[in-house]
Symmetry: C3
Subunit: 447 residues, 3 copies
């Protein structure tokens, strides 16, 4: 089939055939069945491919948020990390990741078949496409927390192993037919599977790296946290809008079917939780800092989105409002606590947004679940679902912290995880990539 006009011929022949057939008045049951079944497959296909495209676009959102909230001198490096997160991640999720996540289950612990998705039909291709963009999201989350000081080569190794092994295995537990799913754990679109995995890996990465130079100043016993403001809030805000946009694919696409009309509920609860998250963070930042803070409010929208990701399909709009609002408050308190009390340096707040609010969203299923199959504490479901959700959140946290802990330790002991002090001060764009991101602009180089 070589030319478009030929494609069109074929299509019109097929369609005319169908019509002639129908209008001939002699309705053969098998042919109707075939056409209607094809439409079912097509609805699923169109829905999932477009949703996957939206989720892919979230990569741009993550890149813009991280670039915007850090310093100009590391922007090129962030681009590379985000581009390679997806590129390396996609190839490894093709070779290994899918097989460990969705292959035949070995005792509910991991999958083990369909490596390289060989002999795939269009349904398997479709499902891989929808899943690979989720895997890449998990990897990208970590990038922000490790920004401005990580060796690029070390980052590549981490990214590869997360996409190939760590993410798929806990993913298998929940979505691949594994033990947590069988226990009744509910995570509709990935508060735990995707976001908390990214969040906990981010925590371990940050701990392994230590803070950026100049971030914490010690005078005697007193440690002061210095703000290192981002260099491009417009890009950060664009990133948040892109992420929110893509989240409609992320959450609503997770119906996994183009004819599951609950996608409307999902879109509505997602919208309300994100809005409430932004408002919650704005309000608490206004109270704490006397002014409504821009980057906190942006993170609040993301917090609401992460929080609603698990419960989106099983809660009411009112439930979504509360979940989002709490996520918005939580993210600000968590960012402040991690920075000011724990002195852990997370440049973009990834641990709080994805880790803390990922757990919150997971727990919220057990509180606000309002459907027959998933009924939370506040809707007369007792503690059952809540306990299962907690087991899931804890198990995945333990799995990710242990494995990424080992991983970052191993990288540190072999190739090294962090750039040198002079490279960090110079900025990773020059030291790691031999270029500048904003050539020609006058930029202050102190800090």
């Amino acid at each position: 089939m070589v030319s478009r006009s030929k494609y069109e011929e074929i299509q019109s022949i097929r369609l005319i055939g169908t019509l002639l057939f129908f209008t001939a008045g002699s309705l053969a049951a098998e042919d109707v069945a075939q056409t209607v079944a094809l439409h079912q497959s097509s609805l699923d296909m169109i829905w999932l491919l477009l949703a996957a495209s939206l989720v892919f676009f979230m990569q741009a959102g993550f890149a813009m948020v991280e670039i915007g909230l850090t310093r100009a001198k590391n922007s090129g490096n962030i681009i590379m990390k985000n581009l390679m997160d997806f590129s390396v991640g996609a190839l490894f999720y093709w070779a290994i990741g899918w097989a460990l996540m969705y292959g035949s289950s070995v005792s509910g612990l991991f999958g083990f078949s369909q490596f390289f998705i060989l002999e795939a039909d269009s349904t398997l291709f479709r499902d891989w496409m929808f899943q690979v963009v989720f895997a890449a999201t998990a990897a990208t989350i970590v990038s922000g927390a490790m920004a401005e000081r990580t060796k690029f080569s070390a980052y590549l190794v981490y990214s590869m192993i997360l996409s190939a092994i760590i993410y798929p295995i806990s993913g298998h537990w929940i979505w691949g037919g594994g033990w947590l799913g069988n226990l009744g754990f509910h995570d509709f679109a990935g508060s735990t599977v995707v976001h908390s995995v990214g969040g906990w890996a981010a925590l371990m990465g940050t701990l392994a790296l230590g803070p950026r130079i100049g971030k914490y100043v010690r005078k005697g016993k007193i440690v002061t946290s210095k703000a290192i403001p981002g260099h491009n809030l417009p890009l950060a805000s664009l990133g948040v809008f892109i992420l929110w946009f893509g989240w409609y694919g992320f959450n609503a696409g997770s119906t996994l079917s183009g004819t599951d009309l609950s996608m409307a509920t999902v879109a509505v609860t997602t919208t309300i939780a994100a809005s409430a998250g932004a408002i919650g963070s704005m309000a608490i930042s206004w109270k704490l800092f006397k002014k409504p803070d821009v980057s906190m409010s942006l993170n609040g929208a993301l917090a609401g989105l992460v929080g609603i990701t698990a419960p989106t399909a099983v809660v009411t709009p009112t439930g979504a409002l509360i979940i989002g609002l709490v996520a918005g408050l939580l993210v600000v308190l968590s960012v402040e606590f991690i920075d000011k009390k724990l002195h852990i340096d997370d440049p973009v707040g990834a641990i709080s947004v994805h880790g803390v609010c990922g757990v919150w969203g997971t727990i919220a299923v057990g509180l606000f679940g309002a459907t027959d199959s998933v009924k939370g504490l506040f809707y007369g479901g007792g503690f059952g679902q809540l306990i299962v959700q907690s087991i899931g959140a804890l198990s995945v946290a333990a799995w990710v912290m242990i494995t990424t802990g080992i991983l970052f330790f191993a990288i540190k002991k072999t190739g090294g995880l962090r750039v040198t002090e002079s490279e960090e001060l110079q900025g990773l764009d020059l030291s790691e990539h031999n270029g500048e991101a904003y050539s020609g602009f006058q930029i202050f180089t102190t800090m």
Copy 2:
């Protein structure tokens, strides 16, 4: 239903069931009916949710346009206004707005039921989702005209009331079963309902605020208008491309049905009008200023889009060409007139783009309408449609100008609408939000 693999099981059981059933040869009429009816609902659902997502993404477009066309020192504030426009607007449109717009009509004047869209099914959720993004668009339009000098808290109050009350009521008149719709007023996707509402509110906001410091310089009786150039045209252009992209959801989605094939006509007339608008503005700016002006041409594309929004489904491509071209000329003349003659300070040209071209598009229905049900003056329909369109445009203008006039007056008399002179000179990012948008960049602070 807890794990994905289970979802898939269910889905495959359902599908296999259908197929078995069909291929069994005993075609039961009710089952075919059910499946085909589900496909109808699914086509509508997928179409409207994806269109809604595209319209949501226009928020990013509005933010980038406004940021790009104003000064660096107010970028963070613009982000906050746009983020909160949507967030606050969505919650109030959920609580009140939808009920006033689409609830049971009280004498054709406003709706009054379905507050908080309680007891919603998936169809109502879907329709709310598609409408909330339109409501937020109207609110956001005003932001640009009031940029660089409005108190953030005052803006929040305005935004809330517009989304909750003002927009829904005139919307009810036209789309909710109200008196204008019953009169035969045609506004397919919102030249009047959305854009002119935003435009007139923008006019009143700007009048209530007065011009930015330094914008108009008086020497005796002569007032000179000083250009205050935008600080980031690449972002402004990105914003325009995002808006144009989103407009395919805005206009084509307004078929409100996934099986209304006139969506193709809508996409084509939208494309042609936007193109003609950009060319029209470029041409007239070239003539007036001796050079083709970048921000005028960008606004020209938006003008063409606003102009085609009402008539998009009822005009020919040639009609769309003329409508877009006229919108492109009009927007430049209007921007110049409002600035140079009326000395009204509208930093991004929102009154001209959305108000003037919104009215133009509304009138254009009565001139270029080319269908049986909507036939304009130039297509043998006489003055009938034209008169109805004019009545609609005027009524909505009066409604919005009176209500927002009162609103801005009330805000002025209570909390205050405008920041202090020193806050304005310092920039709203520092004075209202305690931060900078471009930390590290060397920026000229004079003006």
Copy 3:
């Protein structure tokens, strides 16, 4: 039909009618046929309109890539070129282009009917919509290679003629029922039809213009190429992510049918090739320049995408991996060769990305084609397909180079193609458009 509520009434009446009818138990074959046929049309319509919207959005991607990889002083000019590419191109593709491409074939050489797509039905409108965004893509590619020194008026003339005549004629050969298509030439989504046309036109444009001032420095017989770094890598990376996102519409939409399930294969091979391209370019730049280069890696992703565009539907994931990887290596070698050896100044690498990798993708069909109808050399298909692909690539290259060569020569001899030296040094934003793109930012003006 004037108000939304009325639309909804109609829709619900229709649906209820259908349901009543079905559930009445008396299944009339013609009515089922009508509904199912409407669903077929709707699936095609939704798929193609959404894909077209995604491809439209690629305009933003091209603009951001070109802006990001060139100097700040020409950003406004680039915006104008990209905006007008589409706007002028769309109107001329409406008036003439479509007719020459898809009108009734005159001896397989060009089409000649349907000018101004008069008397179009929704199918023709749909098809035009999907094609116009492809035509605009071809025109936009050239912009990057001719950046920073081309007269704006000259660019408008070029852009108009490419969209109206040059692109449609070679397009007709392949997709419009012309001689190449009939020969069995396979170009699924346009490696040759779109990208190589842009690439070869870019080559001729660059040759006609000569290099930018200061790009090549001669000392005696030795010519040194000076790097002129781009001013905004974050925007360039955003552009690449937007292009990649849009490419899912570009490639998967090219099934031209919403029920052709091979769209999943297309999405998967597109993803894998793009990822492999980015990795390939990163790897070779790491080897050649000792550091992984940011803009090379970004171009590598685009190279992989261009390369997979022709073969995307007929290759395996493994085939896609190799095609993308080779494209990623090729683009770096080609950029270096064109710059350092040929001393041709292509600011963004458009010739290499779209021309060289467009040809590579076209040839790759003859190597990696793995379906019954398109079988390549490596899959037991012999040299047949490979020869046809080579004929196609060469014919289109010759056609475009000759016609654009004449075109640029004619422009040079009449209105002039290049700005003056002082205009170029000043920057095209000031000299051609009387404005600045980054007002208020301190920018170094040397170079």
